[in-house]
């Protein structure tokens, strides 16, 4: 087949690339509103910095490690260092109808937001220098290899036929379980569980959730890498899952007290994270089941985390790790080639083998991400230290780390 640039596909993915970029500022707002006012700027910075950090890392070597010529199914080669050879022509393996450079840019936005998701675990107490070091190591040692395994040509999980449309393993499970590992190492905030730590600005969080939803259309529908029916289906499943999970979360919150705004916004994001791996392979009705199940799973995971007195501060594990684990399994249940001929059938369409591949991919991702992050965090904890001093934490990271404050 001769690869040829398609203007419609190219225009659509250019838009999607911008939509996914928007998700990182949106995440910053989503997280920022939930911390105390003395740490609001610090929390925004923890997300925003990745647009700069990974924006450079990805061009220099990140893209090459993830999508360079395969080495034993484990890692990409160094042939795209500095984006050399990442040109305006289609790249048969990854982008049949769009420029190679656009594929690389679109993937960059995923690499940017994934480590930003993890920051929810350690806000309000992390030492900025150690955080930067951790993030660069994590992107290089966890994200780039995992991305290659699942999406890279020759990657070993891809070879097995795992279905992960837009990043259930690569983005959400990896961020969620890395967050859990990091939270275990860094320990709780001062006063956690003893005094109430109220969100400083829920409107910011609500605005962030709304923008995340918009950006997620680029994230999931754009993962079709073309302006076609699979993209439209992904957009529909994305919307349906978010809508359902938002409603179910509202009911759960209502049963426990009142239908809280923060709860509804959280439910929507949980629905989005859950459907991500399945979005291009399942029907909108299946997406409704995915969203409806994701909400209680994540809700009670949060309650469980709280009861265990574990300060995984913004519930990255419960929101992203748990819901996308379910999403990966759901892809093994509900996927059908009637939706996407490049996909596969799931258990309910007569292919139980797909479910075992999905479960294997989930276990591999959890073990690899949790384990590597735990070791990285421990090493940094022993060497440079992960936390600011007790006094700096008391004052707040806005002033003690950045010399600024949100409001005067």
């Amino acid at each position: 087949m001769v690869s040829q640039i398609n203007a419609g596909d190219t225009a659509w993915i250019l838009v999607c690339c911008s939509l996914v970029l928007l998700m990182t500022p949106a995440l910053a707002l989503f997280y920022g509103g939930m911390v105390r006012r003395k740490n609001l700027l610090s929390t925004l910075t923890l997300s925003y910095i990745f647009m700069a950090l990974i924006g450079v890392q990805w061009v220099l070597y990140g893209y090459s490690l993830a999508f360079g010529t395969d080495i034993n199914g484990l890692i990409g080669g160094l042939n795209y260092l500095g984006f050399l050879g990442v040109d305006a022509l289609p790249n048969g393996e990854y982008s049949k109808t769009i420029p190679h450079g656009l594929f690389a840019a679109f993937q960059m936005m995923f690499a940017v937001i994934t480590p930003a998701l993890i920051t929810g675990a350690f806000v309000e107490r992390v030492k900025f220098k150690s955080f930067l070091l951790f993030s660069l190591l994590w992107a290089t040692l966890v994200y780039d290899p995992l991305c290659h395994w699942v999406w890279g040509q020759g990657g070993w999980l891809k070879q097995m036929g795992v279905l992960d449309f837009a990043g259930g393993t690569v983005v959400h499970i990896s961020a969620g379980f890395s967050a859990l590992a990091f939270a275990l190492v860094i320990g709780p905030r001062k006063g956690f569980g003893k005094c109430p730590m109220e969100p400083s600005n829920i409107p910011l969080t609500v605005m962030g959730a709304g923008l995340l939803w918009v950006g997620w259309f680029g994230f999931n529908a754009g993962s079709a890498l073309a302006a076609n029916g699979v993209a439209v289906n992904a957009l529909l499943t994305t919307n349906t899952s978010a809508a359902t999970a938002g409603l179910v979360w509202m009911l759960l919150s209502w049963l426990d007290g009142r239908p809280s705004t923060l709860g509804i916004a959280t439910g929507m994001v949980v629905g989005l994270a859950a459907v991500t791996p399945a979005s291009g392979y399942v029907t909108p009705l299946a997406a409704m089941v995915i969203g409806a199940v994701a909400a209680p799973l994540s809700y009670y995971a949060m309650r469980f985390r709280d009861r265990r007195k574990l300060d995984e501060t913004l519930d990255v594990w419960a929101c992203h790790g748990i819901s996308s684990t379910w999403g990966m399994i759901a892809a093994g249940l509900f996927s059908t080639v009637a939706v996407n001929s490049d996909g596969a059938n799931g258990l309910f369409y007569g292919n139980p083998g797909q479910l075992s591949i999905q479960i294997l991919a989930v276990i591999v991702t959890i073990v690899f991400c949790f384990g590597t992050t735990y070791i990285l965090a421990k090493l940094l904890s022993w060497s440079v230290g992960l936390r600011v001093t007790a006094m700096e934490e008391e004052v707040g990271l806005d002033i003690s780390s950045h010399g600024e404050r949100s409001y005067s």
């Binding site: 919150s253 007290g257 809280s260 709860g263 009670y300 709280d306 519930d315």
Partner: protein, 134 residues
């Protein structure tokens, strides 16, 4: 004798209290936004998953300095206008005041707090009126 009233009240009752005090001629006051709790111990809020207790609630503290002969009138007015009957209506503290000095005129003591139409002139006028009726 000068006294100070510190009345900690509901935010949404402040206008009623201010108007009721103005009606009886208490014109000088100031207020702060404060946070705290009494016997009620705060309220329950809903978080992302489940509820949590918040014990420091926003309230308004109204400060008034006045002569002790007008104290009971002021207290009664505040009690009436701040009341809802629900927990959280607030509390009133009364304490003695050493001295009052008006910046513009350097007047001291009770004289520093005399205004046209204040509570004392109102009371005097009411007395005159009742005498003329007799």
């Amino acid at each position: 004798m000068l006294k100070k009233i510190e009345a900690i009240v509901r935010e949404d009752k402040v206008n009623d209290i201010k108007n009721a005090l103005a009606d009886i001629g208490i014109v000088g006051l100031n207020m702060f936004e404060v946070r705290g709790h009494g016997r009620q111990g705060g309220i329950q809020l809903v978080g992302r998953a489940g509820t949590y207790q918040v014990n420091m609630l926003p309230k308004i503290q109204i400060n008034i300095v006045l002569s002790d002969r007008n104290l009971e009138d002021a207290i009664e007015t505040i009690l009436k206008s701040a009341y809802t009957g629900e927990p959280g209506d607030g509390i009133i503290f009364v304490s003695p005041v050493e001295e009052v000095i008006r910046v513009r005129t350097r007047e001291r003591g009770e004289g520093a707090m005399m205004y046209p139409d204040d509570i004392d002139t109102k009371k005097a006028k009411a007395k005159d009126d009742s005498r003329s009726v007799l």
